[in-house]
């Protein structure tokens, strides 16, 4: 395990993490997973803690994974969705969060369409804030589970070639993965149409290409991203069918890929658009393993941030 102590109360971005801190989360998740694989353990580091899952945007995997993870650590967790909250009555996020804190929350997990909203909340309330996705900014827990899965499959990520293909411009997953993977020494290629893959990402050390074959041929892993309809305000490509033809991962793509290259996707999948249905279910795909790993990784995040004590037994 990395020799570093965890000092953060909140997890807001991957950008702010040092490589050692990323490794510490992954190593903690490893411990949790290996214990869970062998026994049916009872973790209790968050026993008596009350966690609020404040989800202002739709979610299946992330929300449920946080719920399962919190319960697995002994915490009580209550999920609030945007539609079912007083935000629909005009209450501001600031007031919602302060009320949630007044109701005795020990931590808030937030998903919100506004970039920077977890940082905004962290200035308003005292309790730890865990970012579960803020607009097109970051999605730290997703990137950490992606990186965890990649590390599990590929070993040390230094100099490993990871291609992220799809809607990069509007993707918080792409941003968090780019930060995290480059911090761990991986070589990241971003690919997709010119309108959705800004060249400025080269400034973070990424290679940018708009040719799918080039993007796929040397990759050790290919991460596909869906088209973020909810964040696009203008037309960025002619149609979904054209997108699928030019940038979708289909049977032909397999011929371009390395034999052992794996396929990741953060979900939700748009079968037949960014990925051929059969490929999504193939042995190359680690998509469901990502989902399972998401529980251990989120347990690690919550344990480190909320129990505030690395030495506290799980």
């Amino acid at each position: 395990m990395a020799m570093i102590s965890w000092t953060r109360k909140s997890l807001l971005t991957i950008e702010e993490l040092k490589p050692d801190e990323i490794s510490l989360i992954l190593d903690t998740a490893d411990s949790i997973k290996s214990i869970s694989d062998k026994t049916d353990p009872i973790f209790s580091s968050l026993k008596g803690k009350r966690i609020i899952n404040l989800f202002m945007e739709p979610s299946t995997r992330t929300r449920v994974a946080f719920e399962v993870a919190a319960k697995s650590l002994g915490a009580d967790i209550i999920s609030i969705t945007g539609e079912a909250s007083s935000l629909t009555k005009g209450e501001t996020l600031k007031d919602t969060a302060m009320n949630v804190q007044a109701l005795g929350a020990d931590a808030i997990i937030i998903r919100h369409s506004s970039p920077g909203s977890p940082l905004f909340l962290s200035k308003m309330v005292e309790v730890p804030i865990i970012n579960a996705g803020d607009g097109a900014h970051e999605h730290p827990s997703q990137a950490l589970l992606d990186i965890y899965t990649l590390r599990e499959k590929l070993g040390d990520l230094k100099n490993k070639k990871i291609t992220i293909l799809g809607d990069i411009l509007f993707s918080r997953v792409a941003r968090s993965n780019l930060w995290g993977l480059t911090k761990l020494g991986a070589k990241v290629t971003l690919a997709g149409p010119t309108t959705l893959v800004p060249a400025d990402f080269k400034l973070l050390g990424a290679t940018v290409t708009h040719d799918t074959q080039t993007a796929l041929k040397d990759a050790d892993a290919v991460m596909l991203l869906r088209i973020q309809h909810e964040r696009q305000s203008a037309s960025h490509f002619p149609s979904l069918s054209e997108y699928a033809n030019v940038f979708g991962l289909g049977p032909l793509s397999l011929e371009w890929m390395k034999e052992k290259a794996i396929i990741l996707h953060p979900g939700p999948l748009n079968r037949g658009v960014e990925i051929d249905s059969a490929l999504a279910d193939s042995s190359r795909s680690v998509i469901l393993e990502q989902v399972s790993n998401g529980i251990a990784v989120r347990m690690a995040i919550m344990h480190l941030c909320i129990s505030k004590c690395l030495d506290k037994p799980l």
């Binding site: 501001t92 600031k94 970039p115 920077g116 940082l119 607009g135 097109a136």
Partner: protein
């Protein structure tokens, strides 16, 4: 009710800087019954005497972009708080923008503002009318009727008509009445739903960005239309270095274009939004250091004619929200002139300040600039040099606190503003 306060004042040994008359030197100034004298008119001393070689006297400033919240949002600002903030910043006149509620697209709203101003203001308030109804760019406002009730300029700031035909005809029609035309050059489509300058920073922060191109396209449109119609157009709040180049070329070709920049754009760049500080979210967005340097150079070289405050007050509950939900705008009346001085490198920024915030703005509005000549109407501002102070938003005269300059330490201080109504502001140490 009158707010006139024509107290007699003796200003002894100050430096007078007046681009209108060419005066620049140490002199005494005596204010009696609203007029300025270089010689003491009688042996009677003034009711107030200020002296010192650290004092600079400049003709009163005129702001070309003040967003008035009356009528419509008295939580953000009242005429009293607005004009007191302006006076504290050295402004003896302001030009209000038409984005009130209801809009300044009808004579009744203009008359309402004028009534409030007559009751509550110690400075002159000029009002701009909306070029198009509700500034939607769909149909022309009754520009002749607006002129009749005293509107001096027309603009759709902080928007510009998308439809070129409507824009063209509205400009032709407005010019018939001698109305000054002010354009806020931002392409509506490229800047729509954007929250920052388009850059690596906005990309990293997950914010949709407005590219320089959004401004440059609109600047070029105004330049071409001005040339085509042979009508002067004033471009408000330039932020892009590319716009500066276009304006310089247009002026070189004799096209009747003038331009201003906000003081915030001269001092700050977009890095200030890195922690999603909504008070630094303004329109047009703060751009990069290279833009800032070009804007300063353009001010010094004369490509940019004046500097505005871009004063856009918002109540705390509107600004203290998620970054993309916060409206763009910051207050600036109290700090604009001092911000200008801080931004302009060089030993003597005061002459340039008088030119960019007094003489040129009056010329752009086709008004007689105030002067410090003997026996002129008193309309001036006194700055005390090397008198550092910290600007704190909670001490703001504005009713809103949305400033990106909270806790900024300014080198100099405005200590007196004297408008046509007399003392509008006096510093109480």
């Amino acid at each position: 009710m009158t707010l006139s306060n024509h107290e007699s004042i003796d200003i002894i040994g100050a430096r007078l800087v007046d681009p209108n008359s060419g005066i620049d030197g140490i002199s005494n100034l005596y204010v009696r019954e609203g007029r300025l004298y270089h010689q003491k008119p009688s042996s009677e001393p003034g009711q107030r005497i200020i002296s010192g070689d650290e004092l600079i006297v400049l003709p009163g400033f005129l702001d070309l972009r003040t967003h008035c919240r009356v009528p419509g949002d008295s939580k953000a600002e009242t005429i009293t708080s607005l004009t007191e903030a302006a006076a504290k910043g050295g402004f003896t006149s302001i030009l209000t923008m038409p984005d009130t509620n209801p809009h300044c697209d009808n004579p009744a709203t203009i008359r309402y503002i004028q009534d409030r101003v007559n009751q509550d203001s110690k400075i002159r308030v000029y009002i701009s009318g909306a070029l198009t109804i509700q500034s939607k760019g769909e149909s022309m406002s009754p520009l002749g009727s607006l002129k009749d009730v005293g509107v001096v300029a027309v603009t759709d700031c902080p928007f510009t008509p998308k439809n070129n035909q409507i824009f063209l005809n509205a400009l032709k029609y407005a010019d018939m009445f001698g109305l000054v035309i002010i354009d806020f050059p931002q392409d509506s489509y490229l800047s729509r739903n954007t929250h920052a300058h388009e850059s690596f920073l906005s990309l990293k922060m997950g914010l949709s960005g407005s590219p320089r191109l959004a401004e440059e396209l609109a600047v070029q449109r105004s330049i071409l239309i001005s040339k085509h119609l042979d009508i002067p157009i004033h471009l408000s709040s330039i932020s892009s270095k590319g716009s500066v180049k276009l304006i310089k070329e247009a002026k070189g070709a004799g096209i009747k274009i003038s331009a201003d920049v906000s003081a915030h754009h001269l001092l700050l760049d977009h890095k200030i939004i890195e922690d999603y500080q909504t008070n630094a979210k303004i329109a047009p967005p703060l751009r990069e250091e290279t833009d800032r340097m070009e804007l300063i150079f353009a001010v010094q070289q004369g490509t940019i004619d004046s500097c505005n405050s871009s004063h856009q007050p918002y109540a705390e509950h509107h600004k203290n929200v998620e970054f993309d939900l916060a409206p763009a705008g910051a207050i600036g009346l109290e700090t604009a002139a001092l911000t200008f001085i801080e931004s302009i490198q060089g030993k003597d920024p005061f002459k340039l300040l008088a030119e960019k915030m007094s003489y040129n703005p009056h010329k752009i509005l086709r008004l007689n600039p105030p002067s410090l000549k003997d026996n002129c109407a008193a309309n001036f501002t006194v700055i005390k040099q090397d008198n550092p102070w910290i600007y704190k938003k909670e001490n703001s005269f504005s009713q809103s606190f949305n400033t990106p300059l909270d806790k900024y330490k300014f080198k100099h201080k405005i200590i007196l503003t004297y408008s046509e109504k007399g003392i509008a502001y006096i510093d109480k140490p």
